[in-house]
């Protein structure tokens, strides 16, 4: 019988475009130390560690064993999980299973990336098949640009509709002391930013950040002793549905992997009307158009209604379902950490530690991961023990 699991502590670095003041392992150490401090544990209390990043970004092989001086993994079980953009969610889910197994009471999940020391695009182009896919999908932006174009064509959404997502997330980032891009952007700023690949402009897309995130998960009975308000892990669902970009490009179906993952997770929790029942959502929105389309896949609104839902303010801090109080991926993107930051920020909301970015009385929070070949992960956290 699976053990119940809760998040009891989170830690993250102060994300920046360059962190020349720390080495990669020191940066990992910074996040780990903060997570342990958050739940008043020491590294000695940790029973196992799950770590992840993208191998080729920093060009370190066997990051699990390389990292131990920063992660605290000396004489502990440590494994590496890596699934592209979804890595951070895969790490949280990995740590969840380690605790749920009943074999480990306290497990540390660590995601990190030091993008300033990598050539992200050179590395990412090699994710697609060298013969069949690479010529058409070289890097992250082209596939997203075609997705955005298809969405605009299908529903008549405009570039301004998408830009509102960046305005919202960058405004929220002002409340998050850890965020990388803490500078507000107006609609005009986004619209006037340089075009990268139509219709994606610089203001529409996430940055590359240096940063790390660490999350401590604990077993039922242990978690309650560590913190008065654990964030219970009540559902996770994974759909890494495609291997080939060519198979994933029926954009008019919506983001299929997220539709399937979220409906499975909602069913497990008993959520019927997500935008009414969820208190807050930390979504992996790598670019603004995702902020319209992916909330449709999540059932926050109907197909084609994303632009209106966002435009009417339902996803603002005081709206029906606040999205990305942290400022989201558009404000901070240390890739191997990015989806773990979504889970950590959702936990922060449940634990009531959000300070200026806190959504009042948040008790049911959704976090998502996006990556790979239009893949989705979903995690739902609750203040109530399942």
């Amino acid at each position: 019988m699976a053990q119940r699991v809760a998040i009891v502590g989170t830690g993250q670095t102060d994300h920046k475009s360059h962190r020349p003041d720390v080495s990669q392992r020191e940066m990992i150490h910074e996040a780990v130390t903060r997570a342990l401090k958050d739940c008043e544990l020491s590294i000695k209390d940790i029973d196992a560690i799950i770590i992840g990043n993208m191998d080729h970004f920093e060009s370190i092989n066997y990051v699990d064993t390389w990292s131990v001086e920063g992660s605290g993994g000396v004489m502990k079980p440590i494994i590496k999980i890596s699934t592209g953009g979804t890595t951070g969610a895969s790490l949280a889910i990995g740590a969840y299973y380690y605790v749920a197994s009943g074999m480990f009471d306290k497990v540390l999940a660590i995601g990190w990336e030091k993008n300033s020391e990598s050539d992200t695009t050179s590395a990412i182009v090699t994710c697609s098949d060298p013969v069949w896919d690479r010529f058409s999908y070289s890097g992250a932006i082209p596939s997203l640009a075609s997705e955005a174009s298809a969405y605009m064509e299908q529903y008549g959404a405009t570039q301004e509709d998408a830009a509102r997502v960046a305005v919202r997330d960058r405004k929220n980032a002002m409340n998050n002391p850890h965020a990388h891009l803490r500078r507000p952007m107006s609609l005009e700023d986004v619209m006037n930013s340089p075009m990268l690949a139509y219709p994606i402009k610089l203001g529409d897309v996430c940055p590359r950040s240096d940063g790390a995130c660490a999350v401590v998960l604990a077993a039922d009975g242990v978690a309650q002793k560590i913190t008065p308000k654990p964030a219970w892990f009540i559902a996770s669902s994974v759909r890494h549905t495609y291997t080939w970009f060519g198979d994933s490009t029926n954009y008019n179906e919506g983001l299929v992997s997220l539709q399937r993952a979220s409906s499975e997770a909602y069913e497990r929790v008993g959520i019927k009307n997500p935008s009414e029942e969820l208190d807050v959502a930390e979504l992996y929105l790598p670019y603004t158009y995702a902020g319209l389309k992916y909330i449709e896949a999540l059932g926050f609104c109907g197909p084609g209604e994303g632009a209106r839902f966002v435009g009417d303010g339902h996803t603002e801090m005081d709206g029906k379902i606040p999205v990305n109080p942290s400022g989201g991926v558009i404000s901070t993107n240390c890739i191997g950490a990015t989806a773990l930051l979504r889970v950590a920020e959702a936990a922060i909301q449940i634990m009531g530690k959000g300070d200026k970015r806190q959504v009042p009385d948040a008790n049911l929070a959704l976090a998502t991961g996006f990556g790979g070949c239009f893949w989705s992960d979903v995690v739902i956290l609750s203040g109530d023990r399942p």
Binding site: G73, I81, S82, G84, Y96, Y97, T243
Partner: protein
Amino acid sequence: MDNIAIVGIAQTKYERRKKDKTYLDLVYEMTTAALDDAGLTINDIDSVVTVSNDFLDGRTISGMAVGDAAGAYDKNISTVEGDGTFGAFYGAMRVLGGAGTTLVVAHSKGSEGDIKTVTNAMFDPIYQRHLGIEGITSSAIQANAYMHKYGITEEELAAVSVKNHANAMNNPHAQLPLDLTLGDVMDSEMISDPLKKLDCSPVSDGAAAIIIADEEQAKKAKKPPVWIKGFAHCADEYLLGDRDLADPRALREAAEKAFAMAGIDEPMGGIDVVELYDAFSYMEPLWLEGMGFCAPGKGAQLLLDGITAMDGTLPVNPSGGVLSAHAVLVAGLARIVEVVEQLRGTAGARQVKGAKTGLAHGINGPCGQSHCVWILSKEMRG
């Protein structure tokens, strides 16, 4: 821990170069073969763990390439980067944690890359990598440290190679079944002192898969389930200079935990067969010491006394071990597959008679920095 079991296994023949197949082909074939072995279809699989490495595959998000081939469409999938024993460990955590029947599949094609470049990338990029240190040279340092500490000779280590390559002649999957003399090993080309060519494992192509299920599903399996009695993994310090390379303390920690879980007080009496990660000849005795089968420094003596031979009381690497086939990442999973064959009694010419409990072992990182130990049994946990 609840009872969980391995209900399906598959492995390829290991070869220097599988020219006719992509690694996607290998993953598909092993997924299909493991399902057949278990009497299951892909619809019975709830969760998938693929094992890959971006350096070996030359692709970022290497797990993405094999999702289709592993039948993971619309399933709960994740990817462990590291040896297959660690991937399988995570697979087992998923089964115990309620994810349902889990497929674990590992692949590698050493022929499509340069293993020295790949293992060089394990080392510190600023202070060490440019020295050229990689898998073989770092292991040579460990071999020297081990020989120096206990006065072990090169001949004693060469004997491991003779035994394991001879065992490989009974294993149709092995890449290097060889009838060797001690002289053959001693006279083989010096690669990195004291490691000669026949002290080193080959570069291989291959893949393997296992299916892990909970007690209820395992009892319905086509073949007798092999139960997981105990398992653990543990990592040592990173920098070689921070470690006593002749003292595998992380292995000792993992083995002690695994034996304790399995209720085995005395390793030597409690285990019938061992499949361990002998990437180099010296590793077999060193790892046997770490596992607690003998006192530190006495590992080589076990072989001289005939204990680890096929007809000894503790046959080690009846398959021929990693020395006879080394598909990186796959090799640890292959150790699990081999022990399952032994416990099912289906190991053919390499069968250890009456084997009831076996140990499988894998390593990660330079010089066995991280170890994973599995105790498998024909019987369930009590």
